[in-house]
Symmetry: D2
Subunit: 482 residues, 4 copies
């Protein structure tokens, strides 16, 4: 039997290459787990061939250390290549037990889920690294004033820490989404066979447990036909990438303005412009996030308007898209982590910028309400008038005097009260309600955020350890297991 050249070139060869590189170990683990479950079948034939089955299992484990041949025209895919190798080792009869109640449908889907688990845990680990870097910067800048923009204009003073704590909140919610997606993902399809399970009474819970899943998918059709876990991963990735694209947007802007400085190891010059020092690491982070969102669309289209059943669309054909997503989103996270971890918020320039703006005008209005009993709309108008007066006179708002206020028909304020009302640090200090930027409020929030981060790390380590343990057991001959 030989396949069409185009089919080889565009399907069989690239799929084989991909599977060799990215899926082989998962295939072997899943096959080993299946064989161990087959070995427990109450069937007479099975019982009388325990030795052959054990041999098969050993051969499977040994394949982990065997170099994979490049594509061989005789076999359509990696699965059949493994079959051939096993037959050569233990004979066709023994390999027959591997295929009992097993279909590429459930085997493939199991392998894809195993790979997706790892992808998700890697992303989660990168996300935790970034959260850690964000919190570290936050902790160092609880008192560093940042002029927050709204609608692309200076809005109000807050602190770098307050801003970064907000970023950490979004990343923490993103982590939650990852854990929830992981929980739904981590159910095992094996034993579903083609779609209807098998008439051999395979213990699917045992198979699932061996592979580190939380249990089997509890409907065999669902096990091979559903792709919602893929679409959910896309949702998680979209949220991560889009949220971070906004953070990157600010970091780039601050780099342009000299408020955030990257080290030399993260900038590049120009081949023609001698003065250049481009914050390219941030730019590349942005584009990787864009490509992550974009490439994820492949996965959406691949689950659109196709039957609900076993198909290639969301099987082998979409693995490359997950790879692309992993490279892009993972790369974006890594670059961003480097930039946040090794960049510097330039305190003096940030402070100078704050003092140069009118952004404390809100507090002046608030103070006019408290000190002079004006209604807020009246106070707002008066404060706006003062801003305008100072601008026209080429003076900074912070340099306004009680006399300026009187000229505008405003109330008599003491010099101290006015100065304080217009001072950025005071602006921040006074905002100490729940979630506000006042240093003591943010400090307390950051302590809780650190605890939350540790809790997240605990979850991640637990999952990683769980998978590692399962893997070790599967790669150790049963007789060597304690």
């Amino acid at each position: 039997m030989s396949w069409h050249d185009s089919y080889c070139q565009h399907v069989l060869w690239p799929d084989y290459r991909f599977a060799s590189q990215h899926l082989a170990e998962h295939f072997l683990d899943a096959m080993t787990a299946h064989v161990r479950t087959v070995a427990r079948l109450p069937d007479r034939v099975v019982q009388t061939h325990q030795r052959e089955i054990e041999g098969l299992e050993h051969a499977l484990i040994a394949l982990h250390d065997t170099p994979l041949p490049s594509y061989n025209a005789d076999v359509p895919d990696l699965y059949f290549m493994f079959n051939r190798k096993l037959e050569a080792e233990v004979g066709e009869q023994a390999v027959g037990f591997l295929r009992l109640g097993l279909s590429r449908n459930d085997l493939d889907m199991t392998v894809y889920k195993m790979r997706a688990r790892r992808f998700l845990l890697q992303l989660a680990a990168s996300l935790l690294d970034l959260r850690s870097a964000v919190l570290q910067q936050a902790e160092a800048h609880v008192e560093t004033i940042l002029v927050a923009y709204t609608h692309h204009q200076p809005g109000q003073p807050t602190t770098v820490a307050h801003y970064l704590a907000a970023v950490d909140n979004t990343l923490s919610r993103e982590f939650e989404r990852m854990t929830e997606a992981y929980r739904r993902l981590n159910r095992c399809p094996l034993g579903a066979a083609a779609l209807a399970g098998s008439s051999h009474p395979l213990d699917r819970s045992y198979t699932a447990q061996q592979l580190g899943f939380d249990g089997p998918v509890d409907n065999t059709y669902d096990a091979v036909a559903s792709s919602d876990w893929q679409v959910e991963l896309v949702g998680v990735a979209q949220n991560g990438a889009l949220g971070l694209s906004r953070f990157v947007c600010d970091l780039i802007q601050w780099s342009s303005q000299g408020l955030f400085a990257l080290p030399d190891s993260l900038v590049q010059g120009s081949s023609i412009m001698p003065q250049k020092r481009n914050p390219v690491a941030l730019e590349h982070a942005r584009t990787k996030l864009s490509r992550a969102v974009g490439s994820a669309q492949s996965i959406l289209y691949s689950s659109h308007n196709i039957p609900y059943g076993d198909l290639n669309d969301f099987g082998p054909d979409i693995q490359g898209a997950f790879q692309a997503l992993s490279v892009q989103l993972g790369g974006g996270l890594a670059l961003l982590n480097a930039c946040v971890g090794e960049g510097t918020f330039v305190r003096d320039t940030l402070e100078a910028m704050a003092r140069a703006t009118d952004t404390t005008a809100t507090e002046l209005a608030d103070e006019l309400v408290r000190q002079a009993g004006l209604s807020f709309p009246q106070a707002h108008k008066l404060s706006a008038a003062l801003v305008e007066k100072m601008t026209n006179e080429g003076r900074r708002l912070q340099d306004a005097t009680p006399a300026d206020m009187l000229v505008l028909g405003g109330p008599q304020l003491s010099d101290a009260v006015l100065k304080e009302a217009l001072e950025p640090h005071a602006f921040v200090r006074r905002r100490r309600g729940l979630g506000g930027p006042a240093p003591e409020v943010v400090s307390e929030h950051l302590v809780a955020a650190r605890e939350r981060l540790e809790h997240s790390r605990g979850w991640l380590e637990h999952q990683q350890h769980h998978l590692t343990r399962a893997q070790t057991q599967l790669r150790t001959p049963r007789k060597d297991l304690v």
Copy 2:
């Protein structure tokens, strides 16, 4: 002050129309809650104006029953229109208390979240209706054979119930995602003011509780700047729409083949082709799902490469996209619910089709392993040879005899064993492992699925009741509250 014609025509007017129609009640509730929180400020001015504040609150509540004027060139938006109306009722001084520590930033975001809550609960309700319809069909077809296709070719027999139980599994996971998104969404931004909170010590927890939120967003910058909850809703919607697009694909296919019949009220004829009876309700369901996935992209683009701060992109400008998503996805769910609820799986045709196919060949192979000790690969080859022989002879696989098997060099099987191995119902009955299609297994699964549905309904009713109660309290003058 007058705005540019283009600005009026493309921004102010349509936004006002939209807000009047879809957001007014949420604005009033949020403003009422804020005023009640302001009334509790320890501030002297506030304490001495309790009567005015109470009047303001009453005026706010009364606005629920006041017809909204159409757009008025004097005021840029609904919020300022309400301000004007309130000023006319209770005076500018009193209205000043509304604006204390309040920004359109936090107010808008609160309103958008209130609207999103409702959108999400409506979708959840539609999803539960569909799950109920799916389960009802499943319960009626536990023994109805369905030939399941893989790769667009007949694969194996299963039952309609087994297939629908798998669909219900996906819908149930979708419901879970909705509840998780709801939990993250249901935190209140109010009190965040422009972004840094207020120097007036507003009790943000009290505000949040009044509005039926689970609590305030615990960082004021996060409260006004984050759009991850929107992207998460998109993820949920994508998953719902794409998953259902696959179910619809099958229903349409089955309609084409006469396996699933829609009632007259859901089909349309042709103006030119006299024989036509088109299953258009399913076709429209498909297109609404396509448009839901597509229109959701608006929301993704609106959070891409913009600063992390308060902006219009994910504020007023994206509300129409949520509306479109609601119309399309909600419409798709409603049509699908009608089709599943009132369509008929045509038992006889389904059975006849099953008997006409070769899809029990797998079980024959399994049986050859058990009865004759063949390895599965050998049994697979023999079964395939029988399929080929019967096809070449123009006979159905089910009519194969022990003699046919012998001719192919196969083992001697009794007539009864062979018949049973080739019979679709037996195929299904024998697959009684975890998650398999055997009637008793599926029946048990369906009982659990019903319980799961009731549990989901309980969650939904709790949330709906919680919001209704909060709303009632907000629309009742405080003195009338028990």
Copy 3:
């Protein structure tokens, strides 16, 4: 016959409302054209009923001025509503001639294309307005220095005109794409009937010509089944929206920095921050472009993985998506047109900024090659060293002296040569190669760009006039036509 409530609510009613509002006139024109073609059939029956057919045609024309009833449960859609009204006017027998060789398939597709033509011409008109505004600003700023950024850092001086001429180039290519899409779109499906044409020998070329099409689609299956013209419109819209999103990005940035100023009629203040003056018209333009790109995805999904044949997916069900696209992209263009047309490039600030940067360093290197025979890499290094020296000494690059150069081991340059090499205007003046920013080069380019614009306007007016004339002829009883 009565349809299911859900079907009415989610399909029939909204479709009827939409068709009444947006499609009615196109339906009537297309039906009139068809009836006139039927009247020419050589058929005996047709020939003997010319008077009835003429009456039918008059009744059709009169319907343009008849108010449309709201949805009537008796008829599924606007087409059948028109049929009912015509029957009441001229009798069932006469209306029969309308339905000869006519299907809703070809009629609908014709109507959708007529609507798409208008949509495309409106977009083209808006684009021309924007091009005109861009060129006007360019013409006024041929000598206004703009520091062009690359990688978010100051790169080189150019002029506002040079930048805007580049923008005009992109808009001009976009216009070309529109005309090409229009040419492919403007073929008439009528006469294709259900898909196979009719056994009545209808003159499809005559029908097409009446409706202002360039001719009929030359395969009747293609006429009703193809949606590539829709996907092409999406491509055109994506390109317009994304290209403009980049221009808006710069305008917003320049607004933030005071380099580009919007008039009061295009900015908004804040309800809480007294100092605010937000360039919201630009922000809304951005979000409309984002929504245009996003909503266009609906149209892509609606042509994905569906059969190639007549379907609702790319028919009635996608009209709302085109409407959304029209509103968003059209709105974005209009806002942008207002901002460019009425905004101000702030010459002095732009110049001051240019003088404050190091962006002439490239020219210094070029001059060192010419004057001193250094290789470019050597000159680049020397220029970079000078930049660093000046920065460290807190001096502007422009204030460098021949002595500074000598200190760095560079060649002796005259003061005049050095000053000129570091002066932004000189930088620009010297770049007078093809496409460069030198004022005389850009001025010449702008003259050509104006001519190109006039040529585009000529095309547009020709198409508009052509459609108007066809429409007039169709709405005038034949006997009144000259």
Copy 4:
């Protein structure tokens, strides 16, 4: 100078690998063309170093045959690696002439466009192959009846040729779009330097001509900053992929029904289901098209909400997305070409299916109008009644007799007239209007389609030849050129 590990791992290394593999020859050609243009500068320094420049040019040409080193930590990218190699060959002074008026900005963009040209021409070639295969099948099936479906139900008879001629129409329009995109793409950025051109009077037209471009981009800012040509390629690819997804949808459906048969070399069996013969080549074609549409989104996102200027987003960072697009769309085209070219439309089954349906009912109605003077609505009703009667009696519509018609109150038709009206071939033969399915009409259309194909092939060969010639000239030392 050393870069951050993350920057190396996620940017520099993969970019270098990619450039080595996919861009090296374009870099060398572009650099050679630039050096030849530099050699023509009237500058004294240039004139006195002609020999060095010639040596540089030779060294550049020789690099085509030099193996590329793997990534070297000393140089950030392929461009600088080439610089190093050239310096080693001809000295730093000589290499300096390469860098005169050259920036990576214009060089990169030129290289990306050269690569995009090739990508587009390859796609165009694949498209022509597919058109050829489609026309060949069409020519063989001018009389083969195909029941065309509308709304997923049997609609009317047409022929395989009529259907395929429609497909060819769409592919031909797609080809047009490619040629138009190519024309806009094929303008040369070189000489734009960083963005403002150079003060050295480089002859940009000469550079463009050497590289096979139609001319230089006529604004240097446009040359380096615009990405509309990328978005246009996405539009072209979307249209190709979505249009073909619909064709594939039909081919798969016909495969399921036995109407279209793939050869063994394009199907795969099942590891568990012995009877399986899956048309996987078509399924993989579908998924490649889905991934093409999806992955193209990366390119859209990369041009969204970024400044209009030189950036990495649409430069190096998007080349991988074009690669993915090329692999997916090219692969989909190749698979589809194989399936169409080597698959078989199963004439007998197609005919049998046509005779089993009611799809000639339209023609019966048409005939009733002509023969009996009924209005079309009356004829439609009568035809529908006959369909219903025959269905209820379990008889095929084609077996209806004049008596059946009379029973329904219809007119007296002769047996011959009735038979002919209900016969699928007659149905098709009678539809001989412009674009109809009648064999002589389609045959004529196919002749024109062949001519159109040849014309397209002529265009393609011209472009390919033009690029090859330019390449040859660039890789031949000037003194060896005739």
